[in-house]
């Protein structure tokens, strides 16, 4: 029974946030769209003539775009598979009765709080370095030839690093969902003679479904934008072997200073992210009604 007066006050309280976010969204978005149809390179001062769809044509037909698109997909799907499967197993494990469970949970969650540049550099130098890394020492001790992870399997190595960072997130959310599972339901199934596997298949998995959807969608949003890990480990290389869409656009805009092509790439990235976002919003919006 809010009065008109209260409504007006509420509107006044909400408006700063709305105006700021609207500005933050619309102004850069319009500028990106505008730049994307100009021939505009910061290295070539002078006119910025209208270029139509030239930049889009250039960006989309550049072989690097196809590579980057595939790399982006491989990176996102690879990390999702590792974190969802690993996260489910870890959550199952941590949900079991045990001593000092809080301590083990803390150890598992810790990587999430490590800033991306630190975790990328620690993995790159102290583990994956072909001469001085721990893996190199281990391989040598086992009589194997040293393996230069970031040169020979750059994308796979980055998937490994990023998975390490995101495994805690998936674990934590799946564990939270698992702990809200009604134990009476499980006991009832047990009494009815359901084995451990079918209990997991028919009770736990459906219950985790929604949490897993949220994990997948949120991780996808972040994983589409993986940047720092690539910048400090491989710089997108060798060649374009570990360049994703975000890194490609960064390279066009801030390394080659091509504002036009970089902006066209930005528009493409926004469209791709929006496709994911629509699904995410549905999942979260449903919950808002509840």
């Amino acid at each position: 029974m809010a009065t008109t007066h209260a409504r007006a006050a509420a509107r006044l309280m909400i408006s700063p946030s709305v105006i700021l976010l609207l500005g933050w969204m619309l102004i850069p978005l319009c500028m990106t769209l505008y730049f994307s149809v100009l021939r505009y390179n910061l290295l070539m001062p002078g006119d910025t003539p209208f270029a139509g769809i030239e930049n889009y044509q250039y960006f989309l037909t550049d072989p690097a775009f196809t590579t980057a698109l595939i790399n982006t997909l491989v990176l996102v799907v690879g990390v999702l598979v590792v974190t969802i499967v690993g996260g489910t197993l870890l959550a199952l494990l941590l949900d079991q009765p045990m001593w000092a469970s809080g301590i083990w949970r803390i150890l598992v969650i810790a990587p999430f709080f490590v800033m991306p540049t630190v975790s990328a550099l620690v993995w790159k130098n102290m583990f994956m370095n072909p001469v001085n890394g721990l893996f190199a020492h281990l391989f040598k001790a086992l009589g194997l030839a040293p393996f230069d992870f970031l040169a020979q399997a750059p994308l796979l190595s980055i998937i490994g690093i990023v998975s390490w960072q995101w495994l805690p997130f998936a674990t934590l959310i799946l564990l939270t969902a698992m702990q809200s599972l009604d134990s009476e339901q499980i006991e009832a199934a047990e009494m009815d003679g359901a084995g451990a596997l079918s209990r997991f298949r028919y009770i736990t998995i459906p219950h985790l479904g929604r949490a897993a959807t949220v994990v997948i969608l949120i991780e996808t949003i972040f994983l589409l934008s993986v940047f720092a890990e690539i910048l400090v480990t491989t710089n997108g290389g060798p060649g374009n072997a570990s360049t994703n869409l975000t890194y490609l656009i960064y390279a066009e805009s801030l390394l080659r200073f091509d504002v036009g092509v970089g902006s066209a790439g930005g528009v493409v990235a926004i469209i791709l992210a929006n496709i994911v976002a629509i699904f995410l919003m549905r999942a979260i919006g449903k919950n808002l009604d509840a």
């Binding site: 809010a2 409504r7 309280m13 909400i14 700063p16 946030s17 976010l21 933050w24 102004i27 850069p28 978005l29 009765p97 045990m98 001593w99 083990w104 949970r105 803390i106 598992v108 969650i109 810790a110 990587p111 709080f113 490590v114 800033m115 540049t117 630190v118 550099l121 620690v122 130098n125 102290m126 583990f127 001085n132 390490w164 495994l167 997130f169 934590l172 959310i173 969902a177 134990s183 949490a211 949220v214 949003i221 940047f227 720092a228 910048l231 400090v232 480990t233 975000t246 805009s253 801030l254 970089g262 902006s263 790439g265 990235a269 791709l272 992210a273 995410l280 919003m281 919950n287 808002l288």
Partner: protein
């Protein structure tokens, strides 16, 4: 009724969890350990575990060499500054939406969330050029502004889910008992709102501290926070593992500790209340 668990089963679970936990935590442990070694010991093969000359020289070296404290301070200013600024803007909005919900409240919330889905790289060029024009490149002010706007939707959402749990009847009861508006806010609302606000602040400091797209692209030497400073170790000269470890340890320690305290809120904040 809890199901009976044999001590053996419990011991086995504990052992597996300890091993898995140790493996996942190992890179962090190894970084901290290496930070106390000399550079020669840091790359020794076979690796040295505990029997080395523990030294603090890397911490001294890092602090002297590269204005480490300046970058640390930049991180503090940027993460705390953007969180507090965000809070000032978000509290009224979340408050109004939680206590005076209108027909459009849900739409507004969903729209705010949708701004978070805009990939940063999509607006990299205009933000970079705007900042260059306005002289905000490589300034702490510039980063505070960007990070505030980036995290504003999360702050509003988290506060909203917390505020919504405060029962409105309590306010009415207080009013009936003759409390005036000031008393209502100070004695009834604030005590109930403070825990949620604290969690929100904690999570957002963590997110801002670790943000590594805008901090890398919009700063150079002056305003670079630790994310960008650590990135400068990617083109090393000479032996640097122990120093890298020391710099990394100092960069992650405060946030690791805060993170461990905010585990529960983390789930809620990062899933926009979809999982509690």
């Amino acid at each position: 009724m809890a199901r009976a668990v044999t001590p053996q089963r419990k011991a086995l679970n504990t052992a597996i969890a300890a091993i898995v936990g140790a493996l996942i935590f190992f890179p962090i442990f190894w970084t901290v350990l290496t930070s106390f070694k000399t550079e020669a010991q840091a790359i020794a093969d076979p690796p040295v575990w505990f029997a080395f000359d523990w030294t603090l020289e890397n911490y001294t070296a890092v602090n002297q060499r590269s204005d480490y404290l300046l970058h640390f301070w930049n991180s503090v200013v940027i993460s705390v500054g953007s969180t507090l600024l965000g809070l000032v803007i978000a509290v009224p909005a979340a408050w109004a939406m939680a206590f005076v919900p209108g027909r459009r409240t849900k739409d507004i919330l969903m729209w705010m969330l949708s701004t978070k889905m805009l990939p940063s790289v999509g607006v990299l060029v205009p933000i970079y050029l705007l900042f260059r024009q306005l002289g905000l490149l490589d300034t702490r002010t510039g980063l505070v502004i960007v990070l505030t706007l980036i995290n504003l939707p999360i702050i509003i959402w988290m506060l909203y889910t917390y505020f919504r749990e405060i029962p409105g009847e309590i306010l009415e009861a207080a009013r009936m008992d003759g409390a005036n508006l000031r008393e209502e806010v100070v004695h009834v609302l604030l005590p109930m709102a403070v825990p949620g606000m604290a969690s929100t602040v904690l999570l957002n400091i963590i997110l801002a501290w670790n943000e590594a797209f805008w901090t890398l692209n919009l700063t150079a030497a002056k305003a670079a926070p630790l994310t960008a400073f650590i990135a400068s170790y990617s083109s090393p000269e000479g032996l640097f593992y122990a120093k890298l470890s020391a710099a990394s340890t100092m960069a992650i320690a405060p946030i690791l500790i805060m993170g461990w305290f905010s585990q529960k809120q983390l789930v809620r904040g990062l899933t926009f209340g979809a999982v509690k």
